[in-house]
């Protein structure tokens, strides 16, 4: 007779392996895992209504997808050293493409119809977004596809999208509905008020959470929201002109009171 604990442990091991391959926000991960566990319990109940044993469980899992089917393992959250160059490259390209000049154009939302970009494979991205207008890298394992017409830059690591930047002409919005052209007050309402302002001279320095950075020479602003993996950049009239999604920040403690 099989101990229920043994079955529970085996199910948990399978779920742990799946979790390691899921590259989704926590709430969605949890939902997928609950569905998989319920799926196993349903399949077990069909196979053996009374006292299913480990053989039954093995047979059920053998018929299910391998954990790898749920996606490649997400990259480790230690991207600090490459983030500054990536942000720099994205911003410089943005400037080259001249989007500063038309930064307050606001488009309608297509968020709900858009594919979830983070975690998408390169093949899928090419299928959904088409051929990029410019390819950057690979450098340190990262490659950037620039879609000038769409106002979108996507960054790949291990063949999956790990970050992307939304620029003017892009109709994508954040999960709370903030898009290009939104006022700074919309951003702070959705993601939290900044604690203080700070002048920077480097383009574009400052990685502390919820500090309003201002670059005097370019008259541009930036706020980091590491909890949401977001960076917002604003033009001189404090309208959003660039959103970086999925950026993982180097740890930098705020030394200010």
């Amino acid at each position: 007779m099989t101990d229920h604990n043994d079955i529970g442990k085996c199910i948990q091991k399978y779920l742990d392996e799946i979790e390691a391959h899921l590259n989704q926000p926590h709430s969605q991960k949890s939902e997928v895992l609950q569905n998989v566990e319920a799926h196993i319990r349903d399949a077990l109940a069909r196979r053996s209504e009374e006292n299913p044993n480990l053989d039954d469980l093995e047979a059920v899992i053998a018929e299910m997808d391998a954990p790898e089917s749920y996606g490649e393992r997400p990259p480790a959250k230690q991207l600090g050293p490459v983030m500054k160059p990536l942000i720099y490259v994205a911003v410089v390209l943005t400037a080259i493409l001249g989007i500063w000049l038309v930064s307050t154009v606001r488009k309608g939302s297509t968020t709900s119809d858009s594919p979830p970009l983070i975690g998408q494979s390169k093949l899928d991205a090419l299928s959904d977004l088409g051929t990029p207008t410019l390819v950057g890298g690979p450098e340190d394992g990262y490659q950037t596809y620039h879609y000038a017409g769409r106002g979108l830059d996507v960054v790949f690591n291990d063949g999956k999208i790990v970050q992307y930047a939304i620029r003017t002409n892009c109709t994508l919005k954040t999960d709370t509905g903030v898009g290009i052209g939104a006022d700074m007050s919309e951003v702070t309402r959705a993601y939290g008020q900044y604690k203080r302002t700070e002048e920077v001279t480097e383009w574009f320095g400052g990685n502390v959470s919820r500090v309003l950075y201002h670059h005097k020479e370019f008259d541009r602003y930036k706020i980091n929201y590491p909890d949401s993996d977001l960076i917002f950049m604003f033009d001189c009239s404090k309208k959003v002109e660039l959103i970086m999604v999925g950026y993982i920040f180097p740890v930098e403690k705020d030394t200010e009171p």
């Binding site: 229920h4 899921l22 989704q24 709430s27 969605q28 939902e31 997928v32 609950q34 569905n35 998989v36 566990e37 319920a38 799926h39 196993i40 319990r41 349903d42 399949a43 299910m64 997808d65 089917s69 749920y70 968020t111 709900s112 979830p116 899928d124 299928s127 999960d175």
Partner: protein, 113 residues
């Protein structure tokens, strides 16, 4: 090349089929997967369906009702929201138009011959 074409075609269709199934009434993960597995041409498995269910719920097309289970996690019953119902109608219209247009290509070819 044929395989690539089929893979690309399946991708969007699976989401459509998940929503079509739910347009007939609420259902839970295992049942949805078993029903869609019957469509041999699409090769649908749970690792495809569950992330789609989760994403569609997050996007507001689905709502979920959790029912307690004596052992294991609650069973999650999914149903379309009004937004989801509208989306299925739009998908239906697009799909019918697409099929009609493709069929017309054959008809035109027939008349030319």
């Amino acid at each position: 090349m044929m395989n690539t074409w089929i893979t690309q075609l399946r991708k969007g269709l699976i989401e459509y089929c998940v929503m079509k199934r739910l347009s007939k009434g609420e259902s839970y993960g295992y049942e949805i997967v078993q029903r869609l597995k019957e469509m041999d041409e699409l090769v649908i498995t749970e690792s495809i369906v569950y992330p789609i269910l989760s994403r569609l719920r997050k996007e507001g097309y689905l709502k979920v009702r959790a029912v307690k289970s004596p052992d294991g996690p609650p069973r999650r019953y999914y149903d379309l929201t009004s937004l989801g119902n509208n989306r299925v109608k739009e998908m239906d219209t697009y799909w019918k138009d697409l099929c009609r247009s493709v069929a017309q290509l054959d008809e035109k070819k027939g008349t030319e011959e």
